[in-house]
C-alpha cells in the first residue's frame, strides 16, 4: 500500500495545528484556564465552608423536595458513608468538577441545540461533530488539553465538557423538534413571532427532554472523573487512580463506591427535576 500511495501525514498535521494553537492562542487558553480554575476553586471552598452535617441535611432535603422519601433516605445514608470513609473533601472536589463541567455543557449546549433545531444547516454541521466528540477516545484529547491548559483540574473540566455536552445538545434538538406539528401550526396561526413560539411553546414542551439530556450529561461528566484525574484533577477520581496504580483493591473499591453514591444521588435528583408535575397525571 505504502508503495503506490504515500501515507497521509494526519499525525503531523495535528501536531503542527496543536503547536500553532498553543503558541498563537495562548492568551485565550490562559484566560479560559483562569476562569475555570476560579470557578472550581470557588465551588470547592464554598462547599468547604458548609459543615459536612449541614451539607448532608441540605442535600437530603433537596432530594426529598424534588423526588421522594426513599431517595432522601438514600442521600442521607450515602453521604454519611462517604464522610465516614474519609472521602468528604475529595467528594466535594469531584462535585465541583462535575458541576462546573455540567454548567458549561448547559450554557453552551442548550443554545447550540436551539440554534440547530431551527436551522437545518447548523444541525447538519453539529451532528457529526457531536459524533466525533463522543466516539473519539477521551485520552486522545486529554493530551492537547494538557498543552493548552496545563496540568490540574482545568484540562479535566475541558475533557469532561467535550465528553458530556453532546447529550444536552442532542436532546435539546430532539425535544424541540418533537413538539407536535399541529401545536406549532396553531401557534403560527395565532401570529406568534419566532421567539414567542420558542419561549412560550417549544422550550416549555421540550423541557422534560432537555432535562433528560442534562441528566445524561451529568452522568457522563461523572464517568470522566477518573480519566480527568490522570491529568491532575483532584477528587475521588484521583483516589481511584492512585488505588489502581498501587494495586490497593480495598481503597479503590471505597473510592469507587463513593463515586457510585454521588452518581445515584445526582441522577435521581435531576431526573425528577425534569418531570413536569403540574400537567396532571391523567391522560
Amino acid at each position: 500500500m505504502e508503495q503506490w500511495f504515500p501515507k497521509i501525514p494526519i499525525a503531523d498535521w495535528v501536531d503542527v495545528f496543536v503547536n500553532w494553537l498553543t503558541v498563537n492562542l495562548e492568551f485565550a487558553f490562559d484566560g479560559i484556564t483562569t476562569v475555570l480554575q476560579s470557578i472550581v476553586d470557588g465551588m470547592v471552598s464554598g462547599f468547604g465552608y458548609i459543615p459536612s452535617y449541614l451539607f448532608m441535611i441540605l442535600l437530603t432535603l433537596l432530594a426529598w423536595k424534588v423526588s421522594n422519601k426513599g431517595i432522601a433516605l438514600f442521600t442521607f445514608i450515602g453521604l454519611f458513608l462517604i464522610a465516614n470513609l474519609g472521602y468528604w473533601d475529595p467528594m466535594l472536589e469531584t462535585l465541583a468538577l462535575v458541576l462546573t463541567a455540567v454548567i458549561i455543557s448547559i450554557v453552551l449546549g442548550i443554545p447550540l441545540g436551539i440554534w440547530a433545531s431551527q436551522k437545518q444547516a447548523v444541525k447538519q454541521i453539529v451532528t457529526p461533530v457531536l459524533d466525533f466528540m463522543q466516539t473519539m477516545p477521551a485520552f486522545v484529547y486529554l493530551i492537547p488539553a494538557i498543552f493548552f491548559f496545563n496540568i490540574g483540574v482545568v484540562p479535566g473540566v475541558v475533557a469532561s465538557v467535550i465528553f458530556a455536552m453532546p447529550p444536552t445538545i442532542r436532546l435539546t434538538i430532539l425535544g424541540i423538534q418533537q413538539v407536535p406539528a399541529d401545536i406549532i401550526e396553531a401557534t403560527e396561526a395565532f401570529g406568534s413571532t419566532t421567539s414567542q413560539k420558542l419561549l412560550k411553546v417549544q422550550l416549555p414542551l421540550a423541557m422534560p427532554t432537555i432535562m433528560a439530556g442534562v441528566n445524561q450529561s451529568i452522568m457522563l461528566a461523572l464517568s470522566m472523573v477518573v480519566i480527568a484525574s490522570m491529568v491532575g484533577a483532584p477528587g475521588l477520581g484521583a483516589d481511584v487512580y492512585r488505588a489502581v496504580t498501587q494495586i490497593q483493591i480495598g481503597k479503590g473499591f471505597e473510592a469507587g463506591l463513593a463515586i457510585v453514591v454521588i452518581a445515584i444521588i445526582l441522577d435521581r435528583v435531576t431526573q425528577n427535576i425534569g418531570k413536569n408535575k403540574k400537567q396532571g397525571g391523567t391522560t
Binding site: 399541529d182 401545536i183 401557534t187 401570529g191 412560550k200 416549555p204 414542551l205
Partner: protein, 427 residues
C-alpha cells in the same frame, strides 16, 4: 370588490415539488395523475376559486387527500400557495410580508384544529389567552376576554384545569374559545369536530350554529362528513383531487349534482335528515269555516278527496271535516263548526322528514303543516314524501318556492291529490 365578500380566492394552486412546469400543465388542464406521472409533482390544490360572504358558514368538503386541508391552510398562509391570490377584505395576503401576515393572523383570522392543538403545559385560561398574549395585550384585559370566550363555549369553571384533564369535546371547546378570544372576523375550522364521537359532534355542531346566529362570523369549515356539511353549511364546496367540483347550497348539491362524482357522493345521504316538511308539503285545499258544507262538499268532489281541512279567514287551522259528515250537515242544514274534528295532527315546516314518518304513517288524513301561528302552510301527502326521499325533484319545493306559495296564498295551483284513505269515499 364587493363588500360582502369577506374572502375571495382566485385560482389558488398548491403543488408539492418543482412548481413551474406543473402549474403550467395544470393551467393547460392536465389531470393530477398525469402531472404526477410526467413531473413527479403532487398537486395539492388545483386552481381553486370561490368567494365567502361575510357571515356565512362555507363548508369545504371532500374525502381525505382531496386537498381541503391544504386549501384552508392557504387562507392564512400556513401553507404558501404556489400560485393564485387570496383576498381577505379585498387585500391579497399572498403578497404580504411576514409582519403584515402576522398581523392578519392575529387580528382577522383565527383557526380551530382537528386535533385541538392545545398547549399541554398551559391551563385552559392560558390556552384561551394565547392569541391575545402574543399580541401583547395586558394580562387583565386578555384574562377578561378569555373568560368571556370560555363562557360562550360553556367552559366556565374549568379555566384552571389543564387540557389533559378534559374530555375531547371539552378540549375542542377550548380550541374554539381560543379562536373566539381574539375577536377575529374569520374562523377557519379544519375538521374541527372530526375527532369527536358522533353524539358530541352533533352537540358541537348545534352549539356552533347557535353561536354563529349570535356572532355572525365568517366561517370556513372543513369536513369529510357530508352529513356535517349539510347540517351546518350555508354553502358547500365539494372537492376532488385538489379541484373544486361544485359549489352550492346543501339543497343544490343534493338535488342537482353537477356530475357523476357529486352524485355518487350524495347518493347515500339520508335525505330524511336533510329535507323538512316544508320541502315536501303540498298545497293544502282548505275550506273557510264560514262557507257552508255545500261548498265543502263541492270542493271535495272536484278534487276527488274524502276529507278536508277547515281554516278561518286568517288561514288558521281549525280542524278537519269528512265528506260523509259534510253531507249530513248539509241535510240537517248546519254549519261546518258542528262537524269539525279539532284534534288533527300537525307538524311545523322545519320538522325533518325523519321525525314525521310516524305521524304521516298513522294519520288517516294527510298531516297538516302549520307555522308557529297555526296557519295552515300545506299538507303532507305520503306519495310526495316517499318521492322526495327517492330524490325526485318534482316532489321537492325549494325553500323560496315554498315561502312564496304561502305568501301569495296561491289558490289556483293545480295539485291533484288522490287520497283514497278512510272508508267513506265520497262519490
Amino acid at each position: 370588490m364587493n363588500n360582502s365578500k369577506k374572502i375571495s380566492v382566485q385560482n389558488v394552486t398548491k403543488v408539492f415539488g418543482k412548481s413551474k412546469k406543473a402549474i403550467q400543465l395544470l393551467q393547460e388542464g392536465e389531470s393530477k395523475q398525469n402531472i404526477l406521472k410526467k413531473t413527479g409533482v403532487t398537486v395539492g390544490v388545483n386552481q381553486a376559486t370561490f368567494d365567502v360572504e361575510a357571515g356565512e358558514i362555507f363548508v369545504i368538503m371532500g374525502l381525505s387527500g382531496s386537498g381541503k386541508s391544504t386549501l384552508v391552510r392557504m387562507l392564512n398562509r400556513l401553507i404558501e400557495p404556489s400560485a393564485g391570490q387570496v383576498f381577505i377584505d379585498g387585500i391579497d395576503i399572498v403578497k404580504m410580508n411576514k409582519d403584515q401576515l402576522r398581523d392578519v393572523r392575529r387580528k382577522k383570522i383565527s383557526m380551530v384544529f382537528q386535533k385541538f392543538a392545545l398547549l399541554p403545559h398551559r391551563t385552559v385560561l392560558e390556552n384561551t389567552e394565547y392569541g391575545l398574549e402574543v399580541q401583547g395585550v395586558s394580562k387583565e384585559t386578555r384574562a377578561a376576554k378569555a373568560m368571556d370566550a370560555l363562557k360562550l363555549v360553556g367552559l366556565e369553571g374549568y379555566e384552571n384545569q389543564y387540557p389533559k384533564q378534559l374530555s375531547g369535546g371539552m378540549q375542542q371547546r377550548v380550541g374554539l374559545a381560543r379562536a373566539l378570544a381574539n375577536d377575529a372576523d374569520i374562523l377557519l375550522m379544519d375538521e374541527a369536530f372530526s375527532a369527536l364521537d358522533p353524539l358530541i359532534r352533533k352537540d358541537m355542531q348545534d352549539e356552533l350554529l347557535e353561536l354563529q346566529s349570535a356572532m355572525k362570523k365568517t366561517i370556513v369549515f372543513i369536513t369529510h362528513d357530508l352529513d356535517e356539511a349539510l347540517r351546518i353549511g350555508d354553502r358547500i364546496a365539494l372537492m376532488k383531487d385538489g379541484s373544486i367540483v361544485q359549489i352550492g347550497t346543501p339543497e343544490e348539491i343534493l338535488m342537482n349534482p353537477l356530475n357523476d362524482y357529486v352524485e355518487r357522493f350524495v347518493e347515500d345521504v339520508d335525505l330524511s335528515k336533510v329535507l323538512t316538511a316544508g320541502h315536501v308539503m303540498k298545497r293544502a285545499e282548505a275550506v273557510s269555516v264560514e262557507k257552508g258544507p255545500r261548498v265543502a262538499l263541492q270542493m271535495m268532489r272536484d278534487l276527488g278527496i274524502s276529507s278536508m281541512y277547515v281554516v278561518d279567514r286568517k288561514k288558521t287551522l281549525l280542524g278537519a271535516i269528512t265528506a260523509a259528515d259534510a253531507k249530513e250537515a248539509m241535510d240537517r242544514n248546519q254549519g261546518l263548526m258542528t262537524i269539525l274534528q279539532a284534534g288533527v295532527s300537525t307538524v311545523s315546516p322545519s320538522t325533518l322528514l325523519a321525525d314525521l314518518f310516524e305521524k304521516v304513517s298513522t294519520a288517516s288524513i294527510p298531516v297538516a303543516v302549520v307555522d308557529e301561528n297555526r296557519r295552515l302552510n300545506g299538507i303532507l301527502v305520503r306519495g310526495a314524501v316517499i318521492g322526495a326521499l327517492a330524490g325526485s325533484h318534482h316532489a321537492i319545493n325549494t325553500q323560496e318556492q315554498a315561502k312564496a306559495e304561502v305568501a301569495a296564498d296561491m289558490v289556483n295551483k293545480e295539485v291533484k291529490i288522490t287520497w283514497n284513505n278512510g272508508s267513506q269515499k265520497f262519490r
